[in-house]
Structure formats: structure tokens, C-alpha cells
């Protein structure tokens, strides 16, 4: 018998007990009787915990604070505590659909007293699953292969990455053409370059930058996906390969700061690029525009009769601490009435796109009763808002899709902050120049 088991069984047998010199006699020592946990071994917990980065998986002491804040549990059956418990009782996370349902939103980490870190555990476990030959969901595989081949998960040619610039209606300098130093390098990212609704926000932001007289340029076709979500989906090698190429490209040009539209790119640049040799001063565009409010405010001339609510992106808010800048911008919009959702700021409810989730909807559909984005859109509508404001490129398409599938499409419009600002400046929309 396992020596640990022996000691416990002995205690159970006696009504006096002295363990390691301490007298713990009493009826309560029945607690030390054999329990179901010993029917299994801790091997499956250890298999995960010994992966570099996933050590905290073993620290969970089952308090359960994570489950109520886990967005996936609201629509399914999930949360770090549950994953630990399942591993305890013989289910290998590496072979379980659970491996692919976490969006790394970090709400669990925020409340965990033991700092069990799914944001590090999931990529480590996913990478290990891939390296040990386990099949990955087909939609994700396609996104990863596209990213490796084309530098974007959408499978669009690299050359077309700057095509949106033609329709911007304002100058959008491209570094490989202008070949001069700029103050701001605007890192546009994949969805804002290729997806129709992403392009809408890019055009809006380009017009705002021009109106502010910002000295900026984009990389255009030389830009490759920052790859943060692919990294969290388990492809550390792909992330490093992209980072090496991006850092090499960036080293060709002179610029003082990087401004990004995508909080996932922000995360990559801030937290992971430095150790790969890329150290930059990176701003999210909302932080930059909020700083420029004194210049911006007088240009916000058109009143927008919208009742808006704001979705804090996980990777801007919880992961990178920016909650205020978007709110300052929204409050600056004339005519707009702002209501907060219950699950806002640090407790914001994930849209489902992070951690690879953008390419796992078809997989998750088999394990959730509805999409996270649908849950969130219904929350937005329940505030009485007619506009859901976002500032992360995953969100616009996810929420517009969700509005259609939940039937609230006619009642809720989804807009990037840049689109609203540009509209209030008369730069887009009816009557725009």
C-alpha cells in the first residue's frame, strides 16, 4: 500500500491518534479516512504541471472563485477548478475538448488566491498536445496554416494587406514607399487590414489621424500577424517565427512609437517581443486619442443620438490595464448617452475571440449552449443601449454575427470607437466629405 495511504488508514482505525508527535485524538480524525481522491493518481495533474509555464495548474485548492467569473462556464461547464477536478478524477486535459474552450480572458486569474494561471497553462498544454501528435480542431488548423503561409489567419495574400488604403480617402503613408522616419508607426494587424468591418474602422482611424495631423505610417504588406492568439492556441514556434520576421522588418525603419488597433498585438509587443529582441513604446489607439483629447474635442462637432454601452476587451483591460481611455473618448462624443454593462471593467465578459477562440467557434458550438459573443450581445441589449462600442478587431464581426443569430440585429448596432469618433467629426457617414 502507498505509504501515504497507510498513515491515513491508521488514523482512521484509531480513536486516539498521535501523528508526528502531535496528539490529534478525537472524533474528527475520521476526516482522515480514505476518500475518493485516492482512487485516482495525481499523474494527470502532474503531466500538465510539469510542462514549462503550466506549474500553477497544481496549486489549485478548489476554492471555486474562478467558476462564477469564467465566461465559458456561463454557457457551458467550465473553469479552472473544474479542469483540475477532472484531471484529479482521471480525465486527461490533453485529450479533452476542454483543452480548446478557454479564451485566456484572465478573469479567473484575477480572482484566484493561488494565482493558477490559465493564460500560461493553456498555451503550454496545447503546445504539448500538438507535439505529441494529438489532432487539433480543423478550423484552428486552417488558421494556423494560413498564418504560417500568408502572415494572416484569413488566408489572404500578403500583398493585399495594404489594399484597403486605396479606399481610405485620405493619405495613408506606407513605409516601404515613403522610406522616411515617422513619429508613429501604426500597426494595423490582420482583421483591420482584410476584414470588411475591420477596414471600416481602419479607414475611420486613418481619417482621424489625418485630421489630427499625426505623423504616422503603416507597414502595409511587410506587416505580419503579431500572432499572440496563435501563441495562446499553442503555436509558440509560429509566434516566435512571426516575431523574428516582424522585428527584422521593424528594424529597417525609424519611428518613435507604435500605435496599435489590436489589443492582442499590444499584448505581444508589450509582454513577449522584448525578450525576442523587440523593445518598443507601444500605445493602444484609445490611449493615444485620449491623450489627444484637447485637440480632438473641438473637432467632435456632430451630435450622435446614440445610447451606447462599452465592451472592455480582455486584452486591453484585464491584460494591459487600460479601462479609462475608451471611456474618456466615449464621454467626449456629443449627444451620446453612456450606460455601463454589469460585467464591465475588470469583470468584463469575454467576446470569445481570444486565445484562439476566433477560430474555434465551430468546435465550441458542440460544447456550449450559445456563443460567448451572443451572451454578451444580449447583455448589451438589456442595458437599453442601441449601440455596442468596441475597440478590438475581433469584436466587431463577432458581435454583429451574434446580433444576427440572437435576433437583436435591428436593435443593436456595433461600432468601433474610431467609427463613432470619425462620425462625430463628420469624416464618415452621411454628409461626410
Amino acid at each position: 500500500m502507498d505509504p501515504k495511504l497507510q498513515k491515513v488508514a491508521e488514523v482512521w482505525e484509531r480513536d486516539t491518534a498521535i501523528v508526528e508527535g502531535v496528539d490529534i485524538s478525537g472524533p474528527w480524525n475520521r476526516m482522515f479516512g480514505q476518500r475518493v481522491i485516492w482512487d485516482y493518481t495525481p499523474d494527470l495533474i502532474e503531466e500538465i504541471a510539469q510542462l514549462p509555464g503550466a506549474e500553477s495548474f497544481a496549486w489549485c485548492y478548489q476554492c471555486g472563485k474562478c467558476v462564477p467569473v469564467c465566461p465559458v462556464d456561463v454557457v457551458g461547464d467550465y473553469g479552472p477548478r473544474k479542469l483540475y477536478r477532472r484531471a484529479q478524477t482521471g480525465i486527461n486535459l490533453l485529450d479533452s475538448p476542454d483543452l480548446w474552450l478557454c479564451t485566456t480572458c484572465a478573469n479567473c486569474l484575477r480572482v484566484c488566491p493561488k494565482l493558477v494561471d490559465m493564460v500560461q497553462i493553456m498555451p503550454a498544454a496545447r503546445e504539448h498536445a500538438m507535439l505529441t501528435g494529438r489532432a487539433i480542431p480543423a478550423e484552428l488548423q486552417e488558421a494556423l496554416e494560413n498564418t504560417a503561409k500568408y502572415g494572416n489567419p484569413l488566408g489572404q495574400p500578403a500583398r493585399k494587406r495594404e489594399a484597403w488604403v486605396k479606399d481610405a480617402g485620405v493619405p495613408v503613408p506606407i513605409l516601404h514607399q515613403i522610406q522616411r522616419p515617422v513619429e508613429w508607426l501604426w500597426w494595423v494587424e490582420c482583421y483591420p487590414s482584410y476584414h470588411p468591418r475591420g477596414i471600416d474602422a481602419s479607414i475611420a482611424l486613418a481619417r482621424i489621424f489625418n485630421a489630427l495631423g499625426l505623423d504616422f505610417a503603416i507597414l502595409g504588406r511587410e506587416e505580419k500577424c503579431a500572432g499572440d492568439s496563435q501563441r495562446l492556441a499553442g503555436e509558440r514556434g509560429l509566434f516566435e517565427m512571426l516575431a523574428e520576421e516582424n522585428i527584422r522588418t521593424l528594424s529597417k525603419y525609424e519611428f518613435q512609437h507604435i500605435v496599435v488597433t489590436d489589443p492582442h498585438a499590444l499584448n505581444a509587443f508589450r509582454k513577449h517581443y522584448p525578450k525576442l529582441g523587440g523593445q518598443y513604446d507601444v500605445w493602444h489607439y484609445t490611449t493615444l486619442l485620449a491623450r489627444e483629447l484637447p485637440k480632438l474635442q473641438p473637432l467632435l462637432t456632430k451630435s450622435l443620438p446614440y445610447r451606447v454601452t462599452f465592451h472592455d476587451p480582455c486584452y486591453l483591460g484585464r491584460h494591459n490595464g487600460e479601462y479609462d481611455a475608451p471611456r474618456q473618448l466615449i464621454q467626449a462624443l456629443p449627444g451620446v448617452e453612456f450606460v455601463e454593462m454589469l460585467r464591465c471593467r475588470e469583470n468584463s465578459y469575454c467576446c470569445g475571440g481570444g486565445g484562439g477562440g476566433m477560430w474555434l467557434d465551430s468546435f465550441a458550438a458542440g460544447h456550449q449552449r450559445r456563443r460567448l459573443s451572443e451572451e454578451r450581445v444580449l447583455e448589451a441589449v438589456s442595458t437599453g443601449a442601441d449601440t455596442l462600442v468596441v475597440c478590438c478587431p475581433y469584436e466587431v464581426s463577432r458581435f454583429e454575427d451574434a446580433a444576427k443569430s440572437t435576433g437583436v440585429e435591428g436593435r443593436l448596432r456595433v461600432r468601433d470607437i474610431a467609427e463613432l469618433l470619425a462620425e462625430a467629426m463628420g469624416l464618415i457617414g452621411e454628409g461626410a466629405a
Binding site: M130, K149, G237
Partner: protein, 255 residues
């Protein structure tokens, strides 16, 4: 025992293609190359067969683009045991199927595999597909449009797709050549870190081969198909379009 997979880099048709000023080739400056998607399936089917039998998979390719290495390293990372790259006086050339087959035949004969798999077709197969061509030159039986295979008692059972869901199952004596339409399961994913590890640790065997005769297919002229302008485009809001469609259907007695 050996299974050979022939892999080829082809122009990526996702991109816009341009025709070179000569008119008889693509503008190669504007071309991005990818592994022929059917060759990926051929590799997967080969790996699945090898997993069942213990054969070694050898990936072979002719390097006409200077970019074949990545594909061969990926094949090694997925489980191929060896990778052989043929180099020669044909970089930048559009190699015809017949010329490619002639270069491959001596290499294949030397490897003495019991099976050769390659993709059923490639986007530049002007003079036909590689698998039947190889089979004719090697004198081995063949089948194309293969959607599944199985080694049973030393012979190869092969499912060939016909049309409308119909399939034909054939039994081929080995050695044989297959043109693979789809592997039994989707081509497996191999993480980039594994590929990079293989790039550091493994070597691709390079063989310089002599060429003779015409390598390129005989093309008079390449051109673009007539502009897709024949459809009358309906415009307006979704409501207006729906109205127009219903009108069209009613006018033809379809509603």
C-alpha cells in the same frame, strides 16, 4: 521497406497571377509558391500507411523554385524518414510533367519503394498528371483520384472516386503508383517549433541531376479567360434585390 511521396511547389492560385512579357510563362516575380495541396494529402496517406506497416516514408521533390526546402522539412517533421531534393539546370523553369517524371524515374528505381504516392493533379499540369505518367515510365500499375488505401496481404486496396458519390475499389499489386485526391483523414498539423527543430537537426539529401531535352511544356501563349462580366449585377438594398429576384422568378413561371 519504403514508400516514396513526390512533392511539388506550385504557384499559389490564391494570389493574383500575372503573365510574363514573353507570354509563355507566368511572371515568376509575382508568384508565391506553396506545396501542391494534393501532395499534402499524398504525404498524409503515405504516413498513415507507413504507421500501419512500419515502412519508411521518403519525400522526394524537384527544386524548380529554390523554395522546396521548407516543404521537405515539414514532411520530415510530420514523420517522413528521409527527404531528397533534386537540383539541376531547371531553377526558375516551368517543368512539364513528362520532364519531371523522367528526372524522378531513376531516383525512384534506386530507392526501390513498394509504393509511390503523389497528388492527383497540380495547377500547372498542362501535359497531364504525374502519377499516371510515372506509372507508364516505371511500368507499374496505378490508380488516380484515390480517396483511401489499405495494405492487405501484400497487395494494395485502393478506393477511387468516380462521380456522384460512386467509388471503385481496386486491388493493385506492388509496386504501384497512386494519384491521391484525399487522404483518409485531413493532413495532420505539425507545430512550427517541430519544423524548426527538424531544420536544425535533420538534413535534406541533395542530388544534382543531368537534364536533357525539352523541360518546359510547349506553350504558344498564356492568356486570361474572358472577363467575368456576363452576369447582370443586381444592385440596391437587400429588400430591393429580393423584390427583383422574386420578379425574375415569377416572370419565368418559377414561382
Amino acid at each position: 521497406m519504403t514508400i516514396v511521396v513526390v512533392m511539388e511547389q506550385v504557384p499559389d492560385v490564391v494570389e493574383e497571377l500575372a503573365i510574363a512579357p514573353s507570354g509563355t510563362d507566368l511572371d515568376r516575380d509575382a508568384v508565391s509558391y506553396v506545396v501542391n495541396e494534393y501532395d499534402d494529402h499524398a504525404l498524409e496517406e503515405a504516413l498513415l500507411l507507413a504507421e500501419a506497416t512500419g515502412d519508411e516514408v521518403v519525400a522526394v521533390g524537384i527544386d524548380t523554385t529554390g523554395e522546396l526546402d521548407q516543404a521537405l522539412y515539414t514532411a520530415l517533421a510530420k514523420g517522413a524518414r528521409r527527404a531528397i531534393k533534386l537540383t539541376g539546370d531547371f531553377e526558375g523553369t516551368w517543368l512539364s510533367t513528362r520532364a519531371a517524371a523522367r528526372l524522378l524515374v531513376p531516383v525512384i528505381q534506386e530507392l526501390e519503394p513498394r509504393l509511390v504516392l503523389t497528388g492527383v493533379q497540380a495547377p500547372d499540369d498542362l501535359d497531364g498528371q504525374l502519377a499516371p505518367t510515372l506509372a507508364a515510365l516505371l511500368g507499374w500499375p496505378h490508380a488516380s483520384v484515390v480517396i483511401g488505401s489499405q495494405l492487405v496481404d501484400g497487395a494494395l486496396q485502393v478506393r477511387k472516386e468516380l462521380w456522384g458519390g460512386m467509388t471503385m475499389t481496386l486491388e493493385l499489386e506492388l509496386p504501384a503508383v497512386l494519384g491521391v485526391q484525399a487522404a483518409r483523414q485531413a493532413p495532420r498539423y505539425v507545430p512550427i517549433s517541430r519544423v524548426r527543430q527538424v531544420m536544425r537537426e535533420a538534413t535534406i539529401e541533395t542530388r544534382d541531376v543531368e537534364t536533357s531535352g525539352d523541360l518546359a511544356p510547349a506553350i504558344m501563349r498564356l492568356r486570361f479567360p474572358e472577363e467575368a462580366g456576363q452576369a447582370e449585377i443586381l444592385t440596391g438594398s437587400a429588400s430591393e434585390i429580393a423584390d427583383r429576384i422574386i420578379e425574375l422568378l415569377r416572370a419565368r413561371g418559377l414561382l
